[in-house]
Amino acid sequence: MGVVILLVMAAGVAAMLTRRLPTAFALVILAVVIAFVAGAPLTGENSVLDTVVQGGAPMLAATMIAILLGSWLGRLLDETGIAGTLVRKIVEFGGDRPVVVALGVLAVSTLVGTVTGSAPAAMLAGIIGIPAMIAVGIPKVTAAGTILMGIAAGMPFELPIWQFFSTALELPVDTVRGFMMKLFPFALAAAVLFVLVETRRRGVEHAWSLRSASAAPVSRRRQLGDAPWYALLTPLVPLVLALGFEVAILPSMLAGVLYALVTTTRPREMNKRLLRTLYGAFEVAAAPIVLFIAIGILLAAVKLPGAVESLEPLVKAVSPQNPVLFVVVFTLLVPLCLYRGPLNVYGLGAGIAGVLIAAGIYPAVAVLGLATSYNQVFGVSDPTSTQTVWSAQYAGVTPQQVMLRTLPYVWAVALGGFCVTAASYL
């Protein structure tokens, strides 16, 4: 039976890789088929409809709300000009030294990455950041990579991600936070190294572009002035509250929303702006929320007693228990989290993580180490992830070029994460 489930999973990966099915739909179908193969009844206890679909869909509800609040804060950072002001100031202060501008944009991307993720995060930092870097001579692939590496450096502090791993792996938020603190230095060092090495290796690039003298397009951004300096602290507010004062995730994020609002908006315009940005946030958050509904359903399926019993011997046989082997094997498997592969934590990887925990193969915190390390790779280099596609295309290069340039750095981050995991939790 376990082999059949693995074959079903392989078929699901194939459907995602070939883009025959959107990831979320593929995961739900996969979950239902796995449940049936595992012998689950249609209704009742440990059943397809009641346990997998009804129980699984809202399993990650707290994560969905955190994603929505992150998107709301992201919308506010955009609409109030906070993100744009940060990048503009960096260019003004460091513009004649491309490496300084790139490091500055990296810092802004890191801040943005603590608030929200995927394409909206890339847009917040990249809409001004990418062309600003290109304008000071940073090559396009490096410019796109800088945004992605920055966002990934902020990811260990992204509160919705804490919520996701806490709920999905049934770990206290404190445990997730503790591991993220250990992962952060690797992510930050890789990001800074990427900027320093790549700007040195590739030098500067300037082009005589045909578009440079065209009439300037009129945009809404044109209307935005600089946000006040104290508003620029907005991305730090949720972080300080959650990290420094141990306030819960959702209230910390709400505090960030309120801080952005009161520091940039006249009282009579507040209601209008709050509603407008909140409704806009639903649009931004729709895709990840659908994905989290599907992941919840998949997690419920792989945790069914029948599925656990079937998969346990198989997974146990191939999962390394020796710490050195653990690091080596999972490091070699890093490419499997790319192209929506089986180790993508926002896809089948979440299901595999669920199996590893439910079958007792690794402690939950070790699975957390695996999943978050793969997430660092996926978040930067996967050519199918929305932030990578958006950044690459906006810079005028292909996602594959960005993947090749950034992969060695994030692979090293994953290696660091696996080493910490093996040393601390195996």
Partner: protein, 206 residues
């Protein structure tokens, strides 16, 4: 971008471009450069004028970069490109240069852009980028732009104006190659003559 013979509307648009002064193209270039959103157009005009004057006054200097020629400039929306690594190189896109020469003849702009001058201007332009990346030249341009971002008593910190180096490079190319008008006018005409096909959506390659 793909070259198409300019129709009546495109030709009229190019003639309208010719009626603008050279500084206006500098203003447009700055306005197209991210980080200048919301800036006062008069401030942009002042910066464009200062950068133009700076570039014109730059003493001619021979470029140390090697020059290579390649095709595919129209697809990339580029006329020339300077890269500093692995060795300083100026890449000239021959298809764009050919279109520039054809357009100059068709529009009767030969008195502004003599035969072969666009190629020379491209090399002169990229040589300025090479100079602005090293040493005193970039500091001088900053002083010329006079964009003060911090003051503390007598001390002033001058800010970087993104895009100003590009205006200076064009202005230097105009002076060094004896062109009658800024290369930016020809650039704008080329953009009108070529249809968008590829390139970065933010509108500027540089």
């Amino acid at each position: 971008m793909t070259a198409v013979p300019p129709g009546r509307a495109a030709r009229a648009a190019m003639e309208e471009l010719a009626a603008l002064d050279d500084v206006e193209f500098g203003v447009r270039l700055l306005a197209n450069t991210p980080t200048h959103e919301g800036r006062d157009p008069e401030l942009l005009r002042r910066w464009a004028r200062a950068a133009d004057a700076y570039g014109s006054a730059l003493a001619p200097a021979a470029s140390t970069a090697r020059v290579v020629e390649s095709d595919g400039g129209l697809a990339k929306g580029l006329l020339a490109r300077y890269t500093s690594k692995p060795v300083p190189t100026v890449e000239l896109f021959t298809d764009t240069l050919t279109l520039a020469e054809e357009l100059t003849d068709r529009l009767g702009w030969r008195h502004w852009y003599p035969a072969g001058s666009v190629r020379a201007a491209a090399i002169a332009h990229e040589a300025v980028h090479e100079r602005l990346h090293h040493g005193q030249a970039k500091k001088d341009l900053k002083l010329a732009l006079d964009h003060v971002v911090l003051r503390a008593g007598r001390h002033r910190l001058y800010g970087h104006v993104a895009g100003a180096d590009e205006i200076a490079a064009h202005s230097h190319a105009r002076t060094a190659c004896g062109l009658g008008r800024s290369p930016l006018l020809l650039t704008a005409a080329l953009a009108t003559a070529a249809e968008p096909q590829h390139g970065s959506p933010h509108g500027r390659e540089k």
